[in-house]
Symmetry: C3
Subunit: 199 residues, 3 copies
């Protein structure tokens, strides 16, 4: 589906930018920033595919992913200051990114015939592990340990997708509903500071 593919490239684009910007003050040059952007963008999907044994990896056969990331890194280095000011907008892009990656991840896992619990987990992994690897590389506490619903919104969205596909909701509608569900949960959580209780 063309729209889905374009949305996935957009998700990759915003993840690469978030990775490149995250290195600020850690790495001294833009090569390190680009490297981190690259890892952030491909990390989640790569982990999902390795866990599922689904070869070849998407970014190794689809060269557009690499070029999307290169353009994102280039944009991050050129429009650095503007992007830093646009952080809020970017956070909306990031929210869109995790929503799309979750749904695409669940879909891929289901198509490989795994159980629904595993598919939902794979959706969440696709969405959050790029960021987890990024934060580990730059020695920060991973984003999913900071407050506000993040990985849990992805897991809930993944389960929602599984539930709707169980009800035979057509794939395209399911894609849109589940991604919107994740975006809504995340925006509400950030806006009203909703958190899980402490352990």
């Amino acid at each position: 589906m063309n729209v889905q593919y374009i949305l996935e490239l957009l998700g990759t684009f915003t993840f690469a930018i978030s990775g490149a910007l995250a290195v600020q003050g850690k790495s001294e040059d833009w090569f390190g920033a680009g490297f981190t952007g690259f890892i952030t963008a491909i990390g989640g999907g790569t982990l999902r595919d390795i866990l599922l044994g689904s070869y070849p990896l998407t970014w190794i056969t689809d060269i557009y992913i690499i070029y999307t990331i290169l353009i994102a890194i280039f944009a991050a280095s050129i429009f650095n200051k503007v992007l830093q000011r646009l952080r809020r907008t970017l956070s909306i892009f990031d929210t869109l990114g995790i929503a799309l990656f979750t749904v695409a991840g669940v879909e891929k896992a289901l198509s490989l015939g795994v159980r629904w619990e595993i598919a939902a987990i794979m959706g969440m992994f696709s969405a959050v592990f790029g960021g987890v690897i990024r934060d580990t590389l730059i020695n920060e506490t991973p984003v999913l340990f900071r407050r506000e619903i993040y990985a849990s919104a992805c897991l809930a969205g993944g389960l929602f997708y599984v539930f709707l596909s169980f009800l035979d909701v057509p794939r395209d509608w399911n894609f849109i509903c589940s991604a919107s569900f994740i975006v809504t949960v995340r925006i509400l959580a950030v806006k009203y500071h909703i958190n899980f209780p402490k352990l």
Copy 2:
């Protein structure tokens, strides 16, 4: 073998608890704790299987593993205070966990036809890498860099298993002897503060 399978689930259970409890003070909510518990429980075995190219991964096909981990995380969040006080007992569970994971890892590697040196290393990886990933995620120095015989006990136990299977010791006896060997070495090391010399 039924007993072995139950022991492995028990190892998974205690690893999930140790992961969930480790996040205290790092993650602000119990979702992050559960996530870490999950990664800790599956990390070592997953790395072993990926390195050996042994697909599908166990926890992706055997859904009981996921539910064992969920119950462990649930238990960790309910009995949090009790478990913190039971730390000493838990450390015995952890010791049992690494012993069982080591032996099961060596067995699996040998059954895939790798050399005995590799099998022993795979046993150690199965046992310790869940904890290494856990410590890396929460930005702590990995457990295997702290003093007292830990990973080395697993490697020694793995080599012991290989040695006994070379002597044609029956598989069940070998399993029990090698696991006991690891538990004993580890308990003695903790009790008498035995360490490797500094480099």
Copy 3:
């Protein structure tokens, strides 16, 4: 080719030493040092092969790699003080190591039929990810975020190899030229403090 194989073992040897020495002051015993040396030596090539789905992994079938690493760790623990003083020489070994690993990585990726952009990235990953994993394990900022051309020299060298093979330069000459290119770039960068601009 015998010379290439020997050079690769030499690269493995120096990476294992650099890993073992890096743990100084982090790990309290030499087992942790050996563990880190091992991970450093195999990390990059292992990641490359997992990403490419190229099984079985080299070090699992070629036992000489394990023994090369063991000898390196043994050497690191015996000649610890001498090696600390020889750091400058070792850094030349490390430079040789990343050059050889890059070229060998590009070659392997190309032989598996991936695109040239991917092959160059795989070369860089082979060379730098052992060090990245090492630095992540010991909670340091990864070497590639510190100043001075490092990963970028590998990527440039990988692209150079691809370019020469496009010009039908014979494989052996290409191997020597591209590896020399990386060594030269790196030495010049260190000597004249050449860096990428800040982001």
